[in-house]
């Protein structure tokens, strides 16, 4: 099974808001790369990936199953994605991208944008060499 097939095999439980602006809210909003002042600019990126929770607050119990997410922007040091459930700041999760590139992601923020749609942002524990390639199918 290829990585894209593995990702496709995980059910997507995200319900992106139906309103016209929903697709472009939060992490999904259009990024003007020329105005991005981050150390590493974020690129718009629309691919699906999968995550599995690794660790978080001791009092929080998380399932060990893989979950599908929708990546919306990506840089060498972090990304924004849509998820079907809320994550908590500091939670660590393993992300697998379509080309099999894997990174540990640490959540920094989470905001609900729909009933089953949360906009999550955070950083990788290790820089991506080539964010464009990670986002490619």
């Amino acid at each position: 099974m290829t990585f894209p097939e593995a990702i496709e095999s995980v059910a997507c439980e995200i319900v992106v808001p139906a309103d016209p602006g929903g697709e472009n809210r939060g992490s999904a909003r259009v990024i003007d790369i020329d105005k991005d002042k981050r150390r590493f600019p974020r690129f718009p990126c629309r691919v699906d990936a999968i995550l599995r929770y690794q660790s978080g607050p001791p009092a929080l119990r998380r399932p060990r199953e893989w979950m599908r997410i929708m990546v919306r922007n990506l840089s060498r040091c972090g990304m924004g994605f849509l998820h079907s459930e809320a994550v908590f700041p500091g939670e660590r999760m393993l992300i697998v991208f379509p080309r099999g590139i894997q990174r540990v992601f640490v959540a920094k923020r989470c905001r609900r944008i729909g009933a089953r749609c949360f906009d999550v942002g955070g950083e990788f524990s290790e820089l991506l060499d080539n964010p464009t390639e990670a986002g490619l199918r």
């Binding site: 809320a86 500091g90 609900r112």
Partner: protein, 326 residues
Amino acid sequence: MTIATAPSRPSSRNECSGFLPIGVDTITVSTELPFNLYLRVNPAAPPVLYRERHLAMESSDFDRLSEQDITTLYIQVADHVAYRDYLIETVLHNRDVPGPRRFHVLKIANRAVFRSAFGDRNPEKLVNFAAQYGDELADIVCDEDLAVGELLGLMEHDYYTYTHATNVSVLSVLIARELGMGVCDGIVPLGSGAVIHDIGKRQIAPALLNQQQPLSEEQRETIQQHPKFGFMELSGRRDLLWGQLMMVYQHHERWDGRGYPVGFVGEEIHPWARICAVADVYDAMISSRPYRRGLPANQVWEVLEGGSKQEFDREFVKALRSVVKE
């Protein structure tokens, strides 16, 4: 012994370098004092020794002070911990003393400790303080004979950090008690969690928190990060329950999903955080600030009960209303 009018915060009239003013009525008759007591005879001079450590004050001493209208004595700053321990021993842990008086002493005894803990970079002190405070508060509040109205009458509403933290704790515990929660249901950690609900504000500049001018969008966003800051600071601790962490992280979430930081809805918000939200908003609105008076009760209930829109859990608002009416 009466405690009702003991000064809880030094006024400028009573301030004196190296000394702390204490209410005469916080001293218990015929108990050995673990600190020196001082009396200010001349307002222009430092206090003079009135009663030496290890001695006691007798009824006749109180009568004489009363005749001279003296309600304030002094201890050395270095003795504030001994004074706190003395209050805990003689009043707080004395079940013969009525609940409201014990509550009043709880406030006096803990103010300085809270200030020191809140100012410390390490959250350890504040978490430990909150645990002890919650324990002592629950001991008072869970007494079936507690005169709730009298206790509420002793609460100040000035929105100072200590007052607000402890008011939210008291109100949260009273709401829980009204709903039938007891020690076995977690009323102690609930009270502790409420004390630390705003711990994340320590990471925000005081000038911004106290700004009287309208906030810019960026400033509002900064302030709205305090639940996240607090959660991140505490989330790795094993001595805190999930409910306590959610009080820190979710106390600005709203039932209708219009809160922050996430926008959780209804029962997605932990019940302890929903209780904390009601207590937090009630105290914030009823309290006077340097730039405005506290809101009248009818306006406060209007916001909490919400009319057509529902920001708060109605069951908890109803419980608070019932408590405040007592």
